[in-house]
Amino acid sequence: MAEFLQLVFSGLTVGAVYALVALGFTLIYNASDVINFAQGDFVMIGGMGTVFLAAAGIALPLAALMAIVGAVIVGLLLHRLAIEPARGASPVALIMITIGASIFIKGIAQVVFDKQFHSLPAFSGDTPIQVGGATILPQSLWVMGVALGLFVALYLFLEKTLLGKALLATAANRLAARLVGVNVTIILALAFGVSAAIGAIAGVVVTPITLTRYDVGTMFALKGFAAAMVGGMGNPLGAVVGGLLIGLLEAFGAGYISSTYKDAVAFVVILLVLFFLPRGLFGGRSVERV
């Protein structure tokens, strides 16, 4: 039982990060139909930015805030300088642009920051908490708490605010949204900005656990994309469930099956899910409209 619980803790911690990255994917996909492969790099900017600003003598909370703002600026620039000018390009071309952006961001990061691994001090110390024979770090609770908080905030934003509804409307039908007076360009920029912020916040809270480096974004993008897809692209709840599912699968795969093939275990399950639910867990049934 203690072992099971330990694996659950491990899976939920990692899964919460995947969920946050997947949420970022979902938001941008909803607003613009673009799969943003630079999503993981926002996580990196959040973590690395905080590390370097803190090293420059800025207090940690302020450093984190500045790093998040920095990520948002990068997200807005990405939209303004790379996505917006390519409007009307095919989805593959847009994906290629975001991959190029990801390489570009990494390329800049390795010069601005460096190529070494870095860490941040845990927010509430490193003393593990004992639960039913298993242990969990206070920082893991931070990660899960922040993930939950961001999900709820995003949900409220989308459902309860006018701006959020405008975003959903744009997602549903861009032309119609434009006709009823929604400024689609601003909405798209908003989606990129919020996604970048979510990614960067994830980066700040997770760095004390997973460490960070200029190129950690690739791994986060890969897992986050998988999470978003298995949950059902475009569905925020699906993103969260998908992220936690992959985190748990990796933990159980490593704990019970084979640590070598834990990634394979996760992907085999993803493939099986998609074979039976071709649009993910929450993607709904597809009806072909012809």
Binding site: P91, V92, A101, F104, L222, A226, T260, D263
Partner: protein, 315 residues
Amino acid sequence: MAAKLLNSRLATLVFLAIIIGVIPYLAPSAFYLRVAAVVWVFALAALGLTVLMGYAGQVSLGHAGFLGIGGYAVAIGPAQFGLHPALCLLIGAVIAGVLAFLVGRPILKLKGYYLAIATLGFGVILSLVFHSESQWTGGPDGMQVARVTLFGWRLSGSANWYWVTGGALLIGAWLALNIGASPTGRALKALHDSEVAAAGSGIDVSAKKLAAFVIGAVYAAVAGGLLAAMNGLITPDAAGFMHSIELVAMVIIGGLGSVLGAVVGAAFLVVLPQALTFMHDYEQAVLGFLIMAFMIFLPAGIVPTVRKWLLERLS
């Protein structure tokens, strides 16, 4: 007239043959032949994606996995079973084809980004196997490939490999052009635009997709085998996610569905890092910037854009 020439299969092949034939006379040193040979090999792998993605419109983010199968076949066959490398190249192609046939049917039922993540997962699993089964594959540091002897002639050196890979690319391009212009190619391009209408015209959509997937896998496996034999080494990274992305980038940057596009795209991504070495620390940033810039300004890819421009100029 000009339009006809630009669209003709023969013109494309002749053009490619001239390029391949002329480079050795312009190259200042064997290094240039090495770079060109790498371009030819990756172009060959990318041609598989031209058929799969360009013609049939089915994304694969795990294509490098098949490249790995070809590479490891050429590495493992001679080392463990004493087989001739040329035979192993064939065996690798067959294994890749059969594997693609087996996994293709369920995977290709998925569409769009769901297909992308499924193929990505498949590629990740393959590269994990290459990574982990050390007793067969030599593990993460890779496996050495015995030098190839063909009819008593020891195949080594950039110049020899230049001609082998160049020849393989020409054959690959010829086959891809044939497919494109045939009833099969028409069926693939049709289901790319509308699966419903293609099925309504009597096209067995899933069988055709599967055929394209198998063809794409065979291309990648042959390219992987050549790459391994040429380098004398194959590493699991060759089958990794980043290489899959790179292959997709090649066909998109060059121009989706264009045979020459695959070659140009491969040249773009192989030559660029060589050309950017003087940028030192900014190499990666400039590479990323150029990929973005090309896709923003030439979203249809280099070759189709140039072709269109030429056609407009000529008419």
